[in-house]
Symmetry: C2
Subunit: 452 residues, 2 copies
């Protein structure tokens, strides 16, 4: 793959790259990043499986669903691969707890993994092929995102949906063995389905977006495979994706260094199931808890100096529901101390109303400190015995500078899955997920994630 790709032919350049790439072209560390992305996504998808939105979508759509081709992760239903892709994409983004490509705020795994895991149940592939396709799909969606960000996002597009459909099409097209022309068409069929509005944030339509991108990208690949024609320039043409849906378009972000650097290397994973601005404060509280064996009762007050956005976005003093808890730096700090975690469970209604949590929450203050950047905080904990414990965080856990360890990702996985699947099944599932790249059939993971 030459660097001198023609900006005039970015769709074809991507198609050529995706069809020509070999698993051995992907460095070992990048393959490991892909595995981390997969494990993190799988935990999120299993964790979201019993959300009301899933029940609703399944009630609405299963009467129209096709053969039992693929698993709805963490559930007992098996549906056709298009519906399975849709539903797994919805559940994986349900808690806003999935991965983030920070350069574009794309959540890359939802569209890609949801599509290829469903497809792999219908058309078996090896783990190596699967991880390779995953890596290529993420590369395609993130590079397309890079080429139009931030104007495209600022305009109001939910970029996980709009760019994700290309990633799903590319990854599925790869697994289906499309040639360059059919891959080009598949990307065009993806382009003409690109959709998803930020207005939907706060409703069930937000997690619908990665699911819809997965379903539509998979459909684009299936159609392309049979020779359904599309534009050869779906991304770059004057009336194609980039110009119609963005004011900024830098095609070199798509073509430059293609195959030499990998966007999945800079994918990140949230340790906490809430907005990223309060991650430094939770991080500091968890660190102090672990360093000093805190339980909460010995604490007189917690004082955090924070970036102004923390108060603006998460200043809710007396949250009453789990969802409100996500917008409360006070609740978040309290569970960091009492539970040493801030996963989906710590944002349940019952934990938000737990008297012990409420009592500590009321002893938390947050003060704006304009010297702090968004990923910084300084937390002072004043103990009843008069001591003051301090923790400064310059980069929160989960940021690119301080990525989650594999053990952190596995702990997150177990926390998400614990109310959904029996613990023995979780043990087996997480073990399979880590070694997905070595499996003879990648879909063994999907079957292992079915509820019985």
């Amino acid at each position: 793959m030459s660097n001198a790709a023609q900006p005039a032919e970015v769709t074809r350049t991507l198609a050529r790259f995706v069809t020509a790439s070999q698993p051995s072209d992907v460095p070992g560390p990048t393959r490991h990043h892909a595995t981390r992305t997969f494990v993190n996504w799988l935990g999120c998808a299993v964790g979201g499986a019993r959300h009301e939105a899933m029940d609703i979508a399944i009630a609405a759509l299963s009467p129209m669903a096709g053969p039992a081709q693929a698993t709805v992760l963490g559930r007992s239903e098996r549906l056709d691969i298009l519906h399975a892709a849709l539903l797994n994409g919805i559940s994986s983004h349900m808690f806003d707890f999935d991965d983030t490509h920070l350069k574009t705020i794309i959540h890359p795994a939802g569209p890609v993994c949801s599509a290829i895991l469903a497809l792999a149940e219908h058309r078996p592939v090896t783990g190596e092929q699967f991880i390779h396709a995953l890596t290529l799909g993420v590369e395609v969606e993130c590079r397309i995102g890079n080429s139009v960000y931030p104007d495209h996002y600022d305009r109001g597009w939910h970029i996980t949906g709009t760019a994700g459909v290309f990633g799903a099409a590319a990854a599925c097209g790869r697994l289906l063995g499309l040639d360059e022309q059919r891959m080009t068409w598949a990307l065009g069929i993806a382009a003409t389905q690109s959709s998803g509005l930020r207005e939907m944030f706060g409703t069930m339509c937000k997690p619908f977006h990665p699911g819809n991108a997965a379903r539509n990208g998979l459909m684009a690949a299936l159609l392309g495979a049979q020779g359904f024609t599309s534009s050869d320039r779906g991304i770059e043409a004057p009336r194609g994706f980039a110009h119609v849906m963005s004011t900024r378009f830098d095609p070199t972000q798509i073509t430059s260094g293609l195959g030499e650097s990998w966007e999945i290397d800079i994918n990140t994973y949230k340790p906490f199931a809430c907005g990223i601005v309060i991650h430094p404060i939770i991080d500091a509280c968890v660190q102090l808890r672990e360093a000093h064996g805190l339980t909460g009762e010995e604490i007189e007050s917690i004082e955090a100096r924070v970036h102004p956005l923390v108060i603006e976005l998460t200043g809710k003093k007396t949250p009453r529901t789990g969802l409100e808890g996500k917008f409360s730096v006070y609740h978040s700090a309290a569970v960091g101390i009492i539970h040493g975690a801030a996963g989906e469970r710590e944002y349940s209604d019952s934990v938000v109303r737990d008297p012990k949590v409420v009592a500590l929450r009321d002893r938390v203050t947050a003060t704006i400190d304009d010297s702090m950047h968004e990923d910084q905080t300084e937390v002072d904990i004043r103990l009843r015995d008069g001591r003051v414990l301090t923790c400064r965080v310059d980069n929160a856990i989960g940021s690119l500078a301080r990525p989650l360890s594999d053990a952190d990702i596995e702990r997150k996985f177990r926390g998400l899955a614990q109310d959904i699947l029996p613990s023995a099944q979780i043990d087996r599932l997480v073990g399979l997920a880590w070694k997905v790249g070595e499996l003879a059939r990648a879909d063994e993971v999907a079957r292992a994630a079915a509820a019985t």
Copy 2:
């Protein structure tokens, strides 16, 4: 329904209108327009049923399709309602021969009729309910189109897809009996799937757009019916459909006079299966043929004075395929004389290569006349006996000023269906289609359109 609707609440205003409207609110002539729209659409869908794009889409998607709930019109397959809506939407726009709302160049029937006819096979409704829902769906999509046209279209959006998904959602939501809140959500779920790029013109993705709008609008209604939440302001919010996808947005085009005027009253139907700029010339040739019993052999030359766009868009002197024939004013004039028609059959490869047609085509000239507007022409036919016959057309047949008669629409229907279904079946089908509004079950028409 008050005229003083709040522009700030256009999505809810539409939802309230669609849920509150009664069949008796729709005047008789408007119901007849809806029936004409339905008959014209059905003929187009049956006519496109055997196109290669249909074979490809069915091969790609039928392995994932659900129960045999609905007819693929003009074919023997029965698929789940989502796939049937998709496929019937594709076939109905295959020849670009469907209806046109000239104010927005939306092709209104494809998204709406494809969705509701499939749904009606699964959830029976009366013909009265069906025609009412069709009318409401067209109203919703065309009013949304009016509010953003032309900027939205000029930006590169294929408005039949982007606005059509709302029409399908509204019409299906009405048949499913959604309340105002759920209809509002269904419109929001439609908004966040709105898509379709003009870059795709000339490829199979163009007819894919109304099909996709039908499928996605139907899905939006099914999800909304179960309580899948969305924004209440999917159309008008700062990050909603209108502001993200258009620079112009006039919400009064949606709310003003709602329920008092009907967009379906100004729907139009193409008499000829080619670009609208050559319709006046074909019209003139057909008129001269019929007035003078012409067959072609007595003609020495045909001279048309035409608007400049005719030469620019359809100046192909020696077309070799059916598709090229559509871009040849010369071929089009010749078949107008020889066949008295310019339907899909007259743009087949064999007719384009017919020596008799070629010989006459070579005696046609077209001269730019800057005094002609786009819907005008003057045609002189010089006969071998020295006589000159002249016909001037100021508004082509099929325009708002000279709408097709019901008999014209039926003739078009029969021409489209003749190679697809046996003639006795066509007789029965067209009879049922004209009286769809009186049927106890509207889906009787769909079953009558299945190939055996």
